[in-house]
């Protein structure tokens, strides 16, 4: 009689853990007000957005090309359960690329990372920020 409820409980927990992705994330974007689609002109016509995989994510700046700032992106990646691996900088980069794509950005520059640790809603959280830019030439 006692074994059945405990078994169901363990099973439910296992299903709960197995059903979760290894990470979940949040993001916040502060747009600069410039939109490549809206601000298109004859000199700078609308072009297809850079594919997500080709968006440059760098801790440095770009000095060999002119660019325009689209906005500042702040992302937070969290591990789903205590059993999952800690989020990595690659996870943060992927999330930054995802948000940059939504802004039609070509690159995310000046990227900085926090340190993995316990957060209010997660046993392992990693924070990242970057500036989304679009090339002018």
């Amino acid at each position: 009689m006692h074994i059945l409820p405990r078994g169901i409980l363990i099973l439910a927990v296992c299903f709960g853990v197995a059903g979760c992705g290894s990470t979940w994330s949040t993001s916040n974007v502060q747009k600069s007000g410039y939109d490549p689609k809206v601000n298109a002109s004859a000199a700078a016509p609308v072009r297809a957005p850079t594919p997500v995989a080709q968006i440059l994510v760098t801790e440095g700046d770009i000095t060999d090309r002119k660019y325009r700032v689209l906005g500042d992106i702040n992302v937070n990646v969290n591990k789903t359960t205590i059993f999952n691996a800690d989020p990595t900088r690659a996870d943060v980069d992927a999330k930054l690329r995802e948000e940059a794509y939504k802004l039609r950005a070509d690159a995310v520059i000046l990227v900085r990372y926090g340190s993995v640790g316990i957060a209010l809603m997660s046993w392992g959280a990693l924070d990242g920020k970057g500036r989304a830019v679009v090339y002018e030439d």
């Binding site: 440095g60 000095t63 926090g114 340190s115 640790g117 316990i118 920020k129």
Partner: protein, 119 residues
């Protein structure tokens, strides 16, 4: 019971916390500084050397924080289940985290200089 939950909450907030990423610098336009080519090359080399040193130090500090991560998590799990005051045994690495923030601010200044020197 309520006391345990309170101690646990304080412990979670006080130890082993994630360090947030430092704020981005302001998006001001940096005007290029006019300088001779040789002077510009020397300035760029000096900036790049300082950037490399800053990144090396950052990697060292990250490794120190990361080396405590497993023990901090173990302490956190055990404390959450059995003994909340155990949270106080976790390593916060406050000094390392403060230095990481300082190094990021230094790199932001170096990137601005790099841009003004058109490196």
């Amino acid at each position: 019971m309520k006391t345990s939950i309170l101690i646990l909450s304080i412990g979670l907030v006080a130890v082993g916390c994630a360090r947030p990423a430092p704020s981005l610098p302001s998006a001001q336009t940096i005007a290029p500084v006019q300088m001779e080519e040789a002077e510009r090359l020397a300035a760029c080399t000096a900036i790049d050397e300082r950037l490399a040193a800053s990144q090396r130090r950052t990697a060292e500090l990250d490794a120190v924080i990361q080396s405590n991560r497993r023990s901090n998590q173990t302490i956190g799990y055990v404390a959450a289940i059995t003994l909340p005051p155990l949270m106080l045994a976790a390593e916060e690495n406050s000094a390392e985290k403060a230095e990481l923030d300082r190094l990021q601010a230094e790199r932001d200044q170096l990137y601005a200089k790099r841009r003004s020197a058109a490196c």
